[in-house]
Subunit: 171 residues, 2 copies
DNA sequence: AACTACATGTAACTAGTTACATGATTTA
DNA sequence: TAAATCATGTAACTAGTTACATGTAGTT
């Protein structure tokens, strides 16, 4: 249900259309909560039905400008302060680790090596994103950077763990 | 589609029934790839239809013993060595971070503090699981421990990051 | 005889994906 | 006037969840 809360979060800093929200998802939230066009438009209709948001204006080409209602603000507040974040449940990189003994030792080492390389690459990519972000400001960029730090640490963890795991295999 | 591969992985070390597979999911794979009873039984039927597994025996109470076919083994091998693991896409703990400025500074700090505590707690829990695991052996336990190390590092990362993020808020 | 564990199956629902469809406005 | 961008909507499908349903075999 968090697409709903992502939308409430975005709209809580000002009204916007589905189209514009989609751009924001792609530009800012892509790494924490991606949304497709069809899912977003559908969700906006459901949220309006539920009274969390409302259409406050219609523009050219059928553009609809949505704003959060009081009920929407309350729901956002509730979700932010009282709902425990979901735990990470599925992790197919780790799932493969359980079956590493089905591979030859070389294949198993290759697998971990690929994960290590990939994480190093993702780390480097994120570092570049951070540089690009330095230019911008505003709250989304500011808090975006706090989230980005998590990402950097995450990729570093994966990289280092894969190296460690590779060494473990040798016994 | 990875439930399918989890099943292939488990069956690749010997035939088993849906019921027994479910126990293994609960005991060993719960943290990397949970499966519900209804999903598992449904998937087994689809996999048999697709020729990846087959019923090799029927026991009391309608028990069906499944075994991997050659096609199933090939699919497992393919998935292990040629399919890139999915990246983590959705992360609602981090999504909330983007909207931390909608809270009062105290609420925001509380949020991060709760995440820190929770991660510390999950870390401690996993450590206990590891102790319990030391007793067992066999490949699932052995590789399970490699995955568990990832989990420990992950919770430590979350704990430390939350502390860091909390300090960031003060400017 | 009652209880527990074994064992499978099905229905209704939610979230998310890809692909298709349509049309209006702005800009080169 | 052609192309790009703006803007929304819908259909078909997949994966996963919760709840319901049913019956058998072994244990106390």
């Amino acid at each position: 249900m968090s697409l709903r809360h992502a939308v409430l979060g975005l709209l809580s800093s000002g009204p916007s259309s589905g189209y514009d929200l989609l751009k924001t998802f792609e530009a800012s939230l892509a790494n924490v909560w991606p949304a497709t066009q069809s899912q977003l438009y559908g969700e906006l209709v459901k949220m309006a039905d539920a009274g969390l948001i409302e259409v406050i204006a219609e523009g050219p080409r059928g553009r609809k400008e949505y704003a959060v209602t009081e009920a929407g603000r309350a729901e956002l507040q509730h979700w932010m302060t009282e709902v425990e974040p979901e735990r990470l449940r599925r992790h197919d990189m780790l799932l493969r680790v359980f079956f590493l003994n089905r591979l030859t030792p070389e294949q198993a080492r290759d697998y971990l090596r690929r994960q290590q390389d990939r994480s190093a690459q993702l780390y480097a990519q994120l570092e570049k994103v951070r540089e690009g972000l330095r230019a911008e400001d505003g709250d989304l960029a500011r808090y975006g950077d706090v989230a980005l730090e998590w990402g950097l640490r995450f990729h570093a963890l994966n990289r280092d763990w894969a190296e460690w795991a590779s060494a473990q295999l040798k016994d």
